[in-house]
Symmetry: C2
Subunit: 244 residues, 2 copies
Amino acid sequence: MSKTAGIIIIGNEVLSGKTQDTNSHFLCQELRSLGVEVRRILVIPDEIELIGKEAVAFSRKFDLVFTTGGVGPTHDDVTIAGIARGFGVEVIRHPDLERRLRDRHGANINEARLRMAEVPAGAELIGVESLYAPVVKLANIYILPGIPKIMRERFQVIRESFRDSPFYLKVIYMKEGEGFIASYLNRLLEHFPDLLLGSYPVLDNLEYKVKVTLESKDRVYLKRAFEELIGSLPPEAIHKVEEN
Amino acid sequence: MSKTAGIIIIGNEVLSGKTQDTNSHFLCQELRSLGVEVRRILVIPDEIELIGKEAVAFSRKFDLVFTTGGVGPTHDDVTIAGIARGFGVEVIRHPDLERRLRDRHGANINEARLRMAEVPAGAELIGVESLYAPVVKLANIYILPGIPKIMRERFQVIRESFRDSPFYLKVIYMKEGEGFIASYLNRLLEHFPDLLLGSYPVLDNLEYKVKVTLESKDRVYLKRAFEELIGSLPPEAIHKVEEN
């Protein structure tokens, strides 16, 4: 069994179409490469009750939860308040974060800037040595900022702690469409029911029509499945293969 | 009250980081421009039970539901089966869709290709005149394909049926950061509690630091809020404004 993860993207700007979320794709790629199985992505508005409810539900359902967005100094930044509400704890000003903010802003410190020191009571700080603004963690929830560049920097600091056994992947690019190859894939799954098998049609590509992906955490099982599929397909239907 | 919408993106390829979902962003932009409020985006794996459960939950919660993905001819295309399961109806082969597929494929028709004629019992077809493959609708759920180009073509055919009263938007680009402007925004919201007010910091831009968005379906209310904010901010803190 892989470790599972859920991602919650918090932000009206995504739902109203102003911003394309790229954080979830980054996290999915990173977590997959670490061997973690992302089971759910949810995008919700900047609303305290809803954030709390979903954060708690995700925390129960998945081994790891990542939130992005809603952690700045303005009125629409309510992630900390939402998660605190969901877990029934207070929002407190973390002394270490407050000290860092006062050092940084000096005489320009104000109430808005001090909101950046707020955490749900009981939260841990991670990456205190290497990050000016550490990652806030409550239970199994890692609270990340929404700005992609900053989110990525912080994730890099914590990523190794999530490493699980890897997924192995092999890819076959097919010259024939899904209607042709479906029966081959169905037969393969009868023999390899635990194989993670994906079939992704591509438009407007002159070289191939479908990308078929075979994955498993069991390298030998994957190799056997791959060899069976390659052996069963008409060779002229295969454009190329990729083995990692 | 706006019409509300929820979007369900179905596909292991998104969760495993192989594909960046762009369909939800397209739908959010389109629906916003039509005056519809998207309240939720959910990305889930290709699993029948889960698709059914979430489709039913979204159908109850939102006025409109859009799914993308999982409607091809292969083993991992289980959206139709999932939605049928959720609503407790059978999967049937729609005679009109079957006839279209037989016309298209002639002697090359096979079981896999005929899966494209499957719909949940009770579903309607929309865009029958203008689309080779019409949009399948069950209850308030519009079932769209995952390939972005095809999804967009089909959405264009149905989009006008969703039109609601428009959102009006004004944007202020600020030379000062969020820590400076937060108090101005808080004061504005005390006077205009129904204003949709967003504050989005931008990194690495030499001209401005924050994009502030003001929105409402009430054009006069928006104008008054905008004028109050512009009047209260130090003029030298404003880079530029955009009024639509």
